[in-house]
Symmetry: C2
Subunit: 714 residues, 2 copies
């Protein structure tokens, strides 16, 4: 979209906002939930199907997703209606049944198609998706990333790809060690005599912990351990260790394993703990793509460690994508329910209570979350593209290529940005799930309405593959370095390019003639640029001040960590908004007006939530900030007009949503009641009836003391 076209849309939006009807419309007759929903669909001013295609990356991909949804819904292995009531053992059993069904497609389908299949499944059953991801993403991914090609062929021939003859898991974290991989205690000591490594757990805190699939299902494991050769330590490397006999499933000698047990969510995966007691493996089980140990005990270390970043980035980008997908699911449930649930009325002439969504406050609760779901969706798509481009560049560039430095700069930027985005988006979505759950009122506390489980399943993202706070600080550290480079004249890559205009940005205010001009992508983007530049500068200055006080760089980073955290958060807001505006500009013309509204709502709401920084750095005046607050309400109302079509465009089937309150047709009460009755049939005996009966018919004289019969003593 050109700037003038964008401006045109924005002025249309402004006139639309002025004529928006009052929240409480007068109702002339009682409407059923189904009718209440149907009338929302009539309000669409855009082609919902076209928006679905745009979100999915084209009609072809929409069709593929719909094929998957139908296949899964009809497959009894993937039945979901009873999932809120199954026990931990039952859900794990199902996981293995699904494994059997899905493993067939791994070799049969091209990777992008299979990825779509797994994305669809991740929305239905995150626990299964995790178990599958442990084998293919982590175990097989580690082989692909760290094995030599001979080693890789060896493990594929043993069945690692076809999942025939072996099932893998991935043992990095220990009971006492998480984010600090260099601090792991498990040792892999080279025994030259036998040409073997001895894998050993020296202490209780060195016990491998949280290992997905280890408790019962994995036969092999990639183990992270301290490489020790001839008494010298070389840091953490990875080794393939067989855990179980592949026929009897008995544990191998020296391998001791237990179940980690009950978790907050994702009980479909059998996380376990592992202790190794002098377990011997062949030297060639060490994955030697990077560091090599020869028969003679010579250790050869790799030239470029950065190249191993790739796998980390991939995991983070996947979580950004997942954040968008789950956010869409949560708002589908909360949004549809709000279109049919009625409560109170502010108009005494109404014959029926008012829809929740017709209350300004409910719009304010949900519409920004809808906008955020769109923002995260597009951020996921764009970030994924950037990641793939980067990987292509890395593969096609030789180490001595003159462009290699530039590629490495992009790698560093993507590594830092993806760390920050993973934290930013998973936090944003976790909060959105809880806000959506609460917006269902009391029903949000029922397991069957879906969001309680969604919360419990999703919460792991905030500490997975790096605790969110630590990842945010990583981005903050990168931004501090960028700032220090910029002031010495070094140009920064795309994601942080606003820092190249530091001097211009730092003291810039919002130079608009009328408040209405604030409703503009470029102004909002500038606003984020100005505020980001200021907070990054603040963190950089705090860091420099610590150095001047004589702290080491590491200590200085710690001292300015609060400033780094703020810098990274603000940077991420601006980054996500920019991705969203790009997606709006690239959208088909017919979709741009509605997407512009949603995008402006996201931008304005984010500013309101961070008002302190915009006022602190004087980009907005207090009266402009009042205008922003008022416009958040106005845009909530504007987006509300078409919010059901905007939700429909996500195109999640009722089966995928698995919540009676989020059904497409709006018939929420009947479907909710049916679900409760199917899972809890009436007239069943319950096991504690005798307890109640004895409680109700007890002899209260039990409690009374023996009367003191004084006569006897006399």
């Amino acid at each position: 979209m050109t700037k003038s076209a964008a401006t045109q849309h924005m002025s249309q939006i402004q006139s639309h906002l002025q004529v928006a009807p009052c929240a409480a419309q007068e109702e002339s007759r009682i409407k059923t939930p189904i009718e209440s929903m149907a009338e929302e669909r009539e309000k669409a001013t855009f082609n919902v199907r076209e928006l679905t295609y745009y979100l999915d990356g084209g009609e072809k991909f929409t069709k593929v997703r719909e094929k998957f949804m139908m296949e899964l819904e009809r497959d009894p292995t993937f039945r979901m209606y009873d999932m809120y009531d199954v026990t931990k053992d039952q859900i794990r059993e199902r996981t293995m049944e699904k494994f059997r069904t899905i493993v067939h497609y791994v070799s049969a389908e091209p990777v992008p198609i299979f990825t779509l299949r797994m994305q669809t499944i991740s929305l239905i059953d995150p626990g299964f998706w995790t178990r599958f991801g442990v084998h293919y993403g982590l175990f097989f991914g580690a082989l692909r990333g760290s094995a030599t090609s001979a080693q890789f062929s060896h493990w594929v021939s043993k069945g690692a790809l076809a999942l025939n003859g072996m099932v893998g898991c991935f043992a990095m974290t220990e009971l006492g060690h998480g984010s600090n991989v260099a601090g792991l205690e498990t040792t892999a000591t080279f025994d030259e005599t036998s040409d073997q490594f001895i894998i050993h757990t020296p202490t209780i805190t060195a016990t491998k912990w949280w290992i997905g699939g280890a408790a019962h299902t994995a036969t092999h494991c990639v183990v992270f351990a301290q490489l020790i050769v001839r008494g010298k330590r070389y840091g953490t490397k990875s080794f393939v260790v067989q855990l179980r006999d592949t026929h009897t499933y008995g544990l191998m000698p020296g391998v001791n394993i237990g179940d980690i047990g009950k978790k907050m969510g994702r009980d479909g995966i059998d996380n376990g703990w592992i202790q190794f007691t002098n377990v011997r493996i062949p030297r060639t089980n060490m994955l030697m793509k990077h560091t090599k140990v020869s028969r003679a005990g010579e250790v050869k270390e790799p030239p470029m460690a950065q190249l191993t970043y790739g796998a980390l980035i991939q995991g983070r980008v996947a979580m950004v994508v997942d954040s968008g997908n789950i956010a869409k699911k949560a708002i589908t449930i909360a949004g549809r329910y709000a279109a049919v649930r009625r409560q109170f009325t502010s108009n005494p002439h109404d014959v029926q209570e008012t829809k929740l969504i017709d209350y300004a406050i409910h719009q304010y609760r949900l519409m920004p979350l809808l906008a955020q779901a769109y923002a995260f969706h597009f951020t996921g798509v764009e970030t994924n593209k950037l990641y793939e481009d980067l990987m292509d560049q890395l593969e096609s560039t030789q180490p001595d290529d003159p462009t290699m430095n530039q590629v490495l700069d992009t790698l560093k930027e993507t590594h830092a940005t993806s760390a920050g985005l993973k934290a930013f988006c998973t936090w944003g979505t976790l909060n959105a799930i809880e806000a959506c759950r609460q917006s269902l009122g009391g029903h949000g506390y029922s397991a069957y309405t879906g969001l309680a489980t969604t919360y419990n399943d999703f919460a792991v993202h905030c500490t997975w593959e790096g605790d969110n706070t630590i990842l945010t600080l990583q981005l903050g550290r990168y931004l501090v370095n960028c700032y220090r480079e910029v002031i010495t004249g070094k140009t920064q890559p795309d994601g942080v390019s606003y820092l190249n205009h530091l001097d211009t940005l730092l003291n810039q205010g919002c130079a608009v003639k009328t408040n209405e001009e604030i409703l503009d992508f470029d102004i909002i983007q500038q606003a984020w640029g100005v505020v980001s530049a200021n907070v990054v500068k603040k963190a950089g200055e705090d860091f420099d001040a610590c150095l001047k006080q004589g702290l080491s760089p590491e200590a200085a980073y710690e001292e300015c960590s609060q400033a780094r955290l703020a810098a990274a958060k603000i940077h991420s807001f601006g980054y996500v908004f920019r991705r969203f505006t790009q997606a709006v500009r690239n959208a088909p013309e017919g979709l741009r007006p509605i997407l512009t509204k949603v995008c402006l709502l996201y931008g304005l709401y984010s500013i309101e939530q961070n008002a302190g920084f915009f006022l602190q750095y004087r980009y907005f005046t207090p009266s402009q900030m009042d205008y922003v607050r008022a416009q958040v309400n106005a845009f909530c109302r504007a987006v509300r007009q078409e919010y059901i079509p905007l939700i429909d465009a996500f195109n999640y089937s009722d089966y995928m949503i698995n919540s009676p309150l989020g059904v497409y047709d709006g018939n929420v009460y009947e479907k909710y009641f049916d679900q409760v009755k199917r899972q809890n049939p009436v007239g069943q005996p319950h096991p504690y009836l005798p307890l109640i009966q004895s409680l109700l018919r007890r002899d209260i004289e039990d409690d009374e003391p023996l009367e003191d019969d004084d006569d006897d003593d006399e």
Copy 2:
């Protein structure tokens, strides 16, 4: 504490802040977790036991609580070590066992002591506490509040107090109706011929829903229904309906009941749904303390409806108290773990990794939550006192008393303030639980570490007895009314008395000579007063503007709901801070220095989190706000010095905490491992082994197509 004494403490604090040691202290030898914890206790500059007494309301109450903790810990019915693994049926069975144990004390113990017992239990097993509360708080409370004295005696004689012969539940909400009690659909139609009411569920949405205890355990129910006499509706009243035969436990004719099933948490209580089909009850089963229906069908309505507010306020105050208690539990777990968990080091000379709590960012994550737990604790205590005073006044004041208007003003204020506080504190604590959970890293996702379950159990508070957003808006509506009264000259009661100085406050800036003077209770309180006055005024003006546009008052309230929400939140921050400062001023002298630090941290952190408003209304300049941010870090560090003693003062036994990561002695890893092994014994067969074996040993030729044997066709 006099002002000069407070100032003295504050200047001591300032000098203390300057000498606070750097985050990364050099360690000379490896310390065990137990040693790591022990050294924290040596840092106390105050008497921990004295603080416990102060928190508990005196030594006597501490002793009583300790007695309860010991009794519960030794009682096998209250065993907690396996609670994270029990099924819904098992946990419900335990609930009834506990019922039997506890019911003994109801009549034997004075109410304040029994309340302490139940508070202790609520921290251990919220599900049981809820089931018990449904009978005594809701069912029996409804009898006490709404029955005539003759009716009350009747139900007590049938066993309602001794819980012998009947168990009660409370049926207000319906499938389609929650917060809007006036909109309930269930009808109670008077049949003059038989002198009976006919209780009836006319539609599916009228099905009583969420009724705690109804699914299996209750014999009687207080039912809210629309009173209809001679075709005229009189609004929602309450009726006692028998649900089950008290001997056979079979359902009474016309009563249909089912189980609501699985919930997010609190599965110990059997929530159910109820449909009534023309169920007849005697006329005298209507609770007639307020509205009366005579034998002849005459309806007499009560003179003062406000007096029924009391029960609502009680529930809300209880949730404020519970918020403080649960917040203390969560920070005990997260805080103790942070004292022994080590990760990375920013000092290369360290022989051991650094404690989590020695990182500035971890201090920033946890210390404000510790301060908030203290703030909520004291708010609970003070609010409870205010509530009890108010009830005393109400009981001792006659309707025609000249002071009655003043009492009613206080009632209105307490009703509104408690609504806002319930929302503010339950939201604050829910967020704190999740933040504490995440601060445990990956281990926070284990059920055994306790915070996942705590989250799931606590989450219901945010929609219980009124959705938090709706309650916050109630307070906002009250504040708008206060504002409108103030500008017409009417003086406001204590909780909102700052509005009496509106003109002075509105344009006030922070008139300090040096930034250090900001670190003062009075300045911070003034800051909240100024900001609150401004946001309340904004909401009031928005409301007036809507009226001028011709909206009805109800519609105008809806239109300014976002402004009302902001006003209520800011008001509550100031209110809680004021309660905290009062508690500090009333504390024994030896405790004031440490409590002053904690209280200032709470005040400064809250300002930082709401910086936008303080800058918007120009109470603080941007450079003062930078100072506030810097001081938040400084106070986090200062409070960190004694944070373990501050946590110890909560005096929760290991049994109460029920988390191996929160144990008193710091021996977290061994206890965590023990817990996991006890609940998941090694060497157990698992049910899905055959599934894995067949997956691993499958004949992959199954997948291959029949080769096209062209020869045959020729």
